[in-house]
């Protein structure tokens, strides 16, 4: 059974890799390594949508550190995405600095804000914590609207990127590389001694504390790692994805979308949130386009809601989580004596 699962997993991975490498010829063409006019496939919108999925998958993976591996639910997570996006946008567009400085600024800003928000709010638990994070995110939203000489207010800030970043094929591969690096780093973190303590906190906070672990410090640490990764995703959004920083990123809307990705894919599985990000982002792009078929699709969020309710009812561990449990229980049924 275990073998079968590994085999099935291998197939999934192989197909995915093939799919991800489809635009390879185009990458070569884009950088003048083969004749450019020979390759006009896959189309730009395929690359754009994929890059968007990669970037949101990073946000979902960073959210999984909180919800899946530490057991804390934040409603203000996308604040960090906004911080990252604005950091690079302001550095480049308002201060005329290099995007690299913007990336550094984004890391520093999102780390600082994570530590401040975390140490002020993580003493509270459950709903109270969630509400406080929502409040912090809303403060960020209002600031982004009001400091319009810096942020562009309602209009947001469009980022003029260097020429090589204006190329969608390059963006695609940068996004893919970004997701891969973050994914494996986060997986490594969850398998580290610190990651194990985070799991202990998720399982039983009081016990972890009684063992001598400084629970608040670990939670602030988890929130900082997660916040910095979300900040980097914001940078990616402003440079290779939408190339735009907008105040609405800090509202609860995007956070709830990320929560949806994580829950649908499978909390605490890391691959689940990536899958969830792909599903939710592609659906929220494709569903409004079906309005010609039925006016129902004008209310496309309804379908996301149905998916969410369906997941909670029928696959409480999410898609990947349920897949893993099913294989594991089948395995135990066969090999456990008695």
């Amino acid at each position: 059974m275990m073998l079968k699962r590994i085999k099935a997993d291998r197939w999934i991975i192989a197909v995915l890799l093939l799919l991800l490498l489809l635009p390879l010829p185009k990458l070569l063409a884009a950088n003048g390594l083969i004749a450019a006019d020979a390759v006009n496939w896959p189309p730009i919108h395929y690359l754009k949508r994929s890059t968007d999925v990669f970037v949101w998958a990073v946000v979902a993976v960073s959210y999984d550190i909180l919800i899946g591996f530490t057991g804390i639910v934040s409603f203000g997570h996308s604040l960090f995405v906004a911080v990252g996006a604005y950091s690079v946008a302001i550095a480049v567009m308002k201060l005329g600095l290099s995007p690299v400085v913007g990336v550094l600024a984004a890391v520093i800003a999102s780390a600082l804000i994570s530590v401040v928000v975390g140490s002020l709010s993580l003493r509270l638990k459950g709903h109270y914590f969630a509400m406080i994070t929502l409040a912090f995110a809303e403060v960020g939203h209002v600031l982004a609207l009001k400091l319009s000489q810096w942020t562009g207010g309602e209009d947001g800030l469009s980022v003029r990127v260097p020429l090589w970043l204006a190329n969608r094929t390059n963006d695609y591969y940068l996004g893919l590389l970004f997701l891969a690096v973050i994914f494996f780093t986060v997986r490594r973190i969850t398998e580290s001694p610190t990651g194990r303590v985070l799991a202990a906190i998720r399982e039983n906070e009081h016990r972890a504390q009684a063992l001598g672990y400084d629970v608040t410090a670990y939670k602030v640490g988890a929130m900082t790692i997660s916040g910095v990764i979300a900040g980097l995703a914001g940078v990616a959004m402003a440079t290779i994805d939408t190339q735009f920083a907008i105040a609405s990123l800090a509202t609860s809307g995007p956070t709830i979308e990320v929560l949806l990705m994580t829950v649908v894919g499978g909390v605490g599985t890391l691959t689940g949130p990536v899958l969830g990000a792909a599903m939710i982002r592609l659906l929220s792009f494709a569903l409004p386009g079906l309005q010609d078929i039925s006016p129902l699709f004008a209310r496309w969020q309804l379908f996301l809601g149905l998916i969410y309710v369906g997941t909670v009812m029928f696959l409480p561990d999410g898609i990947v989580g349920s897949y893993r449990t099913r294989v594991k229980t089948a395995f135990q049924r066969i090999f456990t004596p008695g």
Partner: protein, 250 residues
Amino acid sequence: MDDILQTRDLTVRFGGLLAVDNVSLHVRPGTFQSVIGPNGAGKTTLFNLICGIYKPTSGRVLFKERDITGLPPHRISRLGMGRSFQITNIFPNLTVLENVRLAVQSRASVGYRFLALASSFGEFTDKARAILGQVGLEGKEQTLANVLAHGDKRKLEIGMLLATESELLLLDEPTAGMSHDDVPAVIDVIKRIKATGKTILMVEHKMEIILAISDTVTVLRQGAVIAEGTPAEVAADPLVRSAYLGGMAV
């Protein structure tokens, strides 16, 4: 010999309720002291004051001659005071081995190493396995903690406590909710720990356990100490008997 743990006039008030009233305990190193008393006497609250979960209204707690009043629980734990809980308190969805391994890791200063692999700290795993042997859970390393039988969960808790290498162990009703058949195995484990020279402070209801293993017994009623002495002395005390019989004449 100096006391390893002292409480001085320890008092806590929750609103109008005086839960612990001027309790002064003296626990000497290497001894086994029990705290008994009717339900609501303040035994668990006393534990929560000692290990830092509650802050006292007045009075002090001294551990190894150091004033620990008001320190957060994780700091007190790291000073060498381990605690088990009345209700089973484990990491339910982690394996038995991982539960104990986390307790071992808590004493090693690996700090916040988030890019090292936990599996590369083999010595933690080895030690955790040895402890599982001591408490009689060998062969169950890879079982998820929440599917263990109740008695095994209590053994796991004691194992986690041992892994912290604490000098002073606070056991809060280690046999609570346990079937009659499981009790002897846990008493056996506790006796073995006692034999290693650790100091133990235990809250318990079952008289036969208290009489069998305690050096000193402290009796609480309505938050206050009403008697203290050897098990035999306490069992003979008229005040204690009336407390347990609900104030009826004896």
